[in-house]
Amino acid sequence: MSTAIVLAGNPNSGKTTLFNELTGARQHVGNYPGVTVEKKQGTCISDAGKFNIVDLPGTYSLTAYSLEEVVARDFLVDEKPSMIVNIVDASNLERNLYLSVQFMEMGIPVTIALNMMDVAKKRGISIDIEKLSQLLNVPVVPTVARSGEGKKELLQTIASTVNSKVDPLIISYGRDMDTAIDEMEEIIQSSAFLTENYRARWTAIKYLENDSQVIESGQKADRKVALQLEKIVEKVSAHLAATLDAHPEGIIADQRYGFINSILKQNLITYYQDKNRLQLSDKIDKVVTNRFLGPILMVAILLGLYKFTFTYSEIPIGWFESFFGWVGNIADSNLPDGLLKSLVISGIIDGVGGVLGFVPLIMFMFLGIAFLEDSGYLARMAFMLDRVFRMFGLHGSSVMAFIVSGGIAGGCAVPGVMAARTLKSPKERLATLLTVPFMNCGAKLPVFALLVAAFFAENEATVMLLITMISWMGALLVAWALRSTIIKGEATPFVMELPPYRMPTFKGILIHTWERTWQYIKKAGTVILGISIVLWAMMTFPGLPETKTQKFENQRSVITSGVTAQVLSELETSDEDQLSEQALTIKESLTQVDFDEAHAGLKNSIAGRIGSSLEGITKFAGFDWRTNIALVGGFAAKEVVVSTLGTAYSIGEVDPEETTSLSERLKTAKGWGPLTAFSLIIFTIFYAPCFVTVVCIAKEAGSWKWAAFSVVFNTALAFGLSVVFYQVGSIVLT
């Protein structure tokens, strides 16, 4: 037999730490208000018995303000747990008890785990635990979740009190309100209105609180009774407004705090230090959020995080690359030439390699973010930047996602999109998700580098800066546009706790990082492999017709026909730098035929046909079919734009790191000039995110609809901007 209990409490009260301590389950320990949205369950087997524990999201109240509160309340109402273990931060008793009181009003048995006793002690607070327990009429057990202190006593207390019946706490809300509550209670009882789920008094209070969720379900349950209740609320509201200039909602909060105060005032707490003494955390804040030092420090920390992630992840990324290169080589030498080989190497190995290539990046990024989040610094960053981001309908916390995605050129939108999880406000979060792909990720840089080197070599630095500015402006303006149209709605209030700075626990950060990484591998992996194969097929099929392949075969025979057998065997066996001059020329001609064949194959492929058929439209932006194919390929990963352009210009696949040959070729190619180049740069900044990012957007936004939106909308936007730029540019320049 096991008992179902829930862990509930304020954010930053050590709830998650206690959950990990009790169940050993893997879960994130946060220091940013409200970090647990998912419901986490675990089992605790102890001497005191077996408990099924659900970790409710951290909330400050049950008034259904945020999604977390709705989730927590629904769970308590629907599942009717045997007990609520309420984690209360001893160093922050008054506000924490506000939630406890609401649990007690629901009539579910409550045990209080008075946590962070060590912090309270350090702050010079001592609490009379026995008296607190007596006055609240619930068991209170002191704990220190970080060290596991008090865990045993807590479990014993839970075991011994779990089946006891408790009466719901009744707080007086003042004469006018109490009369109204009594009247409503009677109506509710006699007509069995919502009594299946809620206690009568609780429903009455929720009506007075103007709780839209309860009022709505009331209207569905029994219209007549609902109207009756609404009338009473209206009457008492009018009366209170006239006599006290007050509102039922306000009075309820006042009285709840009043009730807590009446308890705390009974010599419950002793301060043996000045209550208003500046805590260490406050002293840190004086520097860290200082007008001048704050922003400087923030830039330094962001740069540090950035350097840390992208420098150190390069090493394991290199391992992955060499590993997949090695696997590719094995496949290359063991499989017969043909479609299967091409599928295995270009479709599967490159696809899986592409997925796993991001893993070190995600791990390092989340290691850094988890540290900032758990330490409490992330909340300060949001605090400092909120003013700027709010102008565009975003939230102070959006900054992390933007920076990671390439706000400082060279990031990656995949961890960027995942970093948007630190945002708790759904609308701001969606707007952030949809706009971070405009940042200049590391994969777009080779494209820019190629074009800038070819056409803007004299002003390289200026143009790169211009590109960064365009992407930021674009992203913020689009965010603003989205928030004023399809994701319209009030800004989420910034009434937020700045949690005290804490040293993150090593275990907590590792669990957090691992969870995120594993989620990425598991969920994204399968989809991405599938899409990778589809893209491979698009660039490969239908292949060249027999007659065409024959033509290239003939060209090869022509080249090799007059050559001596000795030179031919040299071509087979020797390395390139050992070849004689004659063999070298032959080899070059042969390679050129290979390139031409690849070029013809690409043009004939599905992607090539799409590219050619789109030429009629894309010519307005200055793009010919070659650019189009490259951009289609760029959907796989942006750097593929460069290698595909290489194939399309018959100079073979171009290594994105080494683009001199291609930029030389583009300089002289027909239809290319600074105007086309910059038009392509604009398009590359804004068009559809690579499909790994798209998959992540679908996952984070919770729907493929938004993923599809980001593909279609971004491409349309990019095309519009490029066309405008190219057309206006053509007029101005001629």
Binding site: Y257, N276, N290, F383, P493
Partner: protein, 76 residues
Amino acid sequence: MGKISLRQMQVDQKGTIASVKAFGELGRRIRDMGLIPGKEIKIQGRAPLHDPVSLRIMGFTLTLRNNEADLIEVEV
């Protein structure tokens, strides 16, 4: 002694909340966090662009935007 809106308060200034004129979701949130009449607050600091503001109440630090602070009247 006089009543001013929370937005007008200076850093390090102390006061007692006199009234909260916010309703609906925002009002609920403000009250849940303990910003109710009678509570003592102290302005802790302001963000570099002067908005949001952070304040100390009941021993913890709370932030809110200036337009949210407008709805709170404080006796100083």
